[in-house]
């Protein structure tokens, strides 16, 4: 809504061959439309602000009661997929975005309704005090259907003066600017959060993804799956070095008399089961394994280490 647009819309474009009262009535309708435009701008800006604020709030707070993603019913995705000619598969929508959109639409509708209920011409008069009194009089005179000589003269006078008015005055530019600045700031924060999430979002959690932050101790102490305990499975060939291992049993009821021969002659206590570790080879498993299997492997490894220690 520029000055030029509003100048042409507030009366000047009305056909000259119409009677002055009709032209005045048309100009008043244009002014009402200008008021609606201003109301729409306010509502749109405020709705954008609400969308970003709510979206950000839900992402940061992560309320337990709200699921992270809402799966779109297959009936819907199938129907859309049929229309598009390709399968969409399972589609999930972030709940934060859904909630923010719903609130933003509500704010937009409510503000537009409230602002459009206010007397729009009166607001235009308040925004253009130079023409306010004449316009107010012309409005009342049109409402009385007056076509008297002085009324016609008033209409012509007001229509002429309306050329110098602007619908932009209906907008509180300062308020709009502040809102836009807040919107931009919220947008930047949202983008920043999304970028951080992409780069390191899998650093922690019970699923055991440990790609990031090896230096950072994992606070999770519960049961972990196989990948978490053993790392990525590798194909390991038998090592070239033979080690002799001497295993002393303890705590058992019977001493072990026979020297048992293992594939290795000895155990290097300093080695921790790197990529060539026989332990690792024995404990390896094929993904995906059940969690119970991982528990057994963990138990097995612990027992071997206990025996090594003793």
């Amino acid at each position: 809504m520029t000055d030029e647009e509003s100048e042409t819309e507030t009366g000047a474009e009305v056909a000259d061959d119409e009677r002055p009262r009709e032209r005045m009535a048309a100009a008043l309708n244009e002014i009402r439309r200008e008021g609606l435009k201003a109301a729409t701008i306010y509502a749109a800006v405020d709705a954008t602000l609400v969308f970003l604020a709510v979206n950000l709030l839900v992402i940061v707070v992560e309320p337990a009661a709200i699921p992270e993603v809402l799966t779109v019913p297959s009936s819907v995705t199938d129907a859309v997929g049929d229309l598009l000619g390709q399968s969409l598969g399972t589609v999930g929508v972030p709940v934060s975005a859904l909630l923010a959109t719903a609130l933003a639409v509500a704010v937009f509708g409510a503000e537009l309704w409230l602002r459009s209920r206010r007397p729009l011409v009166e607001r235009f008069e308040a925004a253009n005090p130079a023409v306010a009194e004449a316009l107010r009089t012309a409005r009342d005179t049109v409402a009385r259907d007056s076509d008297s000589r002085m009324a016609v003269r008033l209409y012509e006078d007001v229509l002429e003066r309306l050329r110098d008015t602007s619908g932009v005055a209906l907008l509180d530019v300062r308020r709009i600017a502040v809102t836009v600045v807040v919107v931009v700031a919220l947008s930047l924060v949202t983008v920043q959060l999304a970028a951080v999430d992409l780069g390191g979002g899998d650093s922690v959690g019970p699923d055991g993804d440990t790609d990031a932050g090896e230096d950072t101790p994992n606070p999770y102490t519960g049961l972990k799956d196989g990948d978490s305990v053993l790392g990525d499975p590798e194909d390991i060939d038998a090592g070239d070095d033979d080690l002799d291992a001497q295993i002393d049993s303890s705590g058992g009821s019977e001493d072990v008399d026979d020297t048992q021969q293992f594939p290795s002659d000895s155990i290097d206590r300093g080695s921790s089961g790197g990529s060539n570790s026989a332990d690792g080879q024995q404990a390896g498993y094929a993904e995906p394994e059940q969690l119970e299997d991982a528990e057994l492997i963990r138990e097995y490894n612990l027992r071997i280490r206990d025996e090594e220690n003793t």
Binding site: E133, R136, T137, D140, T141, R149, M150, L154, E156
Partner: protein, 313 residues
């Protein structure tokens, strides 16, 4: 029917008339504007001042500039109503004697009722019908007064001796009450020079005709007024009936007078609509003679204008 061009021409003529009046009347701009407003609104005006301030000269000059028939009534305690309205006399004709109505000085376009508060209430009442109805009834006959018709009455301040206060019913019929004050020093110098030189009477030219004045009066009634301004005028008048400072408030006639004079002022100033400043400017002149102050307010030394100003805030 006047076109837009005609309205411009009439407003230019009004401006010319004001200039002509200004040639003879020094200062008193507000009073002059009030008188013109009263004429354009087709009302009667009451001028109050001490003697010697040029009330008569002012009214006579307006009559000259506007091509209106002028007559003057000098009110005295022994003035009879028939001395103003006229009376029937017996006149000898070829067919015999017959009663003929001899018109009094009221039969003019502009009647200057000088020092009206020196006349008795009975004589003052004789002006009532003429002022309101624009007609005179004598001996069972009703006579229409010439159009346009204005009574411009002057009075001395009430507290001077030998005066009869105008009854409320009569003061209500004056659209405006205008107060003349003493001129400034430089204005008084100019007045002295003007009227003591070799040309004791400064000539003025006629700028408006009777027909044009009547045309303007019609246009004034057509001047649009916003609903909120009309309501403001009405509420102001109604507040005079409720204010503690006022014992007796103004009548609905005051509401009508306030709106109509506001329209006339707007037209006089070349505007196409009534502005709030018109209401503010004319409220004292419309209301000051229509209200009676409470005795406590008078004891505090406040005038009607003070109270009206507080009601306007």
């Amino acid at each position: 029917m006047s076109t837009d061009h005609d309205i411009d021409r009439l407003q230019e003529k009004i401006a010319t008339a004001r200039e002509e009046i200004g040639k003879r009347i020094v200062g008193q701009h507000e009073v002059l504007e009030g008188l013109l407003v009263c004429i354009l609104a087709d009302g009667n005006a009451l001028l109050e001042s001490n003697p010697g301030l040029g009330k008569t000269t002012m009214v006579r000059t307006i009559a000259e500039v506007t091509d209106l028939q002028f007559s003057r009534v000098q009110n005295t305690p022994d003035l009879m109503p028939s001395d103003i309205t006229g009376t029937e006399i017996i006149r000898e004709t070829e067919t015999g004697r017959e009663f003929v109505f001899e018109k009094g000085p009221i039969f003019a376009n502009v009647v200057l009722a000088d020092e009206i508060n020196r006349a008795t209430p009975k004589t003052q009442a004789a002006l009532l019908e003429a002022m309101q109805e624009k007609q005179v009834t004598a001996a069972g006959e009703t006579y229409q007064l010439p159009q346009p018709f204005f009574v411009l009455a002057t009075q001395n301040p009430i507290d001077q001796s030998g005066t009869y206060p105008l009854p409320e019913a009569q003061t209500d019929r004056f659209m405006l009450k205008l107060l003349l004050d003493y001129p400034e020093y430089d204005e008084e110098q100019e007045i002295v020079d003007m009227f003591t030189g070799d040309r004791p009477q400064v000539p003025v030219e006629q700028a408006l005709t009777r027909a044009e004045i009547q045309e303007i009066q019609q246009l004034v009634r057509e001047v649009p007024i916003a609903d909120d301004l009309r309501d403001r005028a009405i509420q102001l008048v109604r507040r005079t009936r409720e204010a503690d400072e006022i014992e007796f408030g103004a009548s609905p006639r005051a509401s009508m007078a306030l709106v109509l004079t506001a329209k006339a002022r707007a037209f006089l100033q070349g505007r196409t609509h009534v502005a709030s400043e018109d209401i503010d400017a004319l409220a004292p002149a419309v209301l000051r003679h229509r209200i009676i102050l409470d005795f406590r307010t008078e004891r505090e030394g406040r005038t009607a204008d003070d109270v009206i100003e507080s009601l306007l805030e």
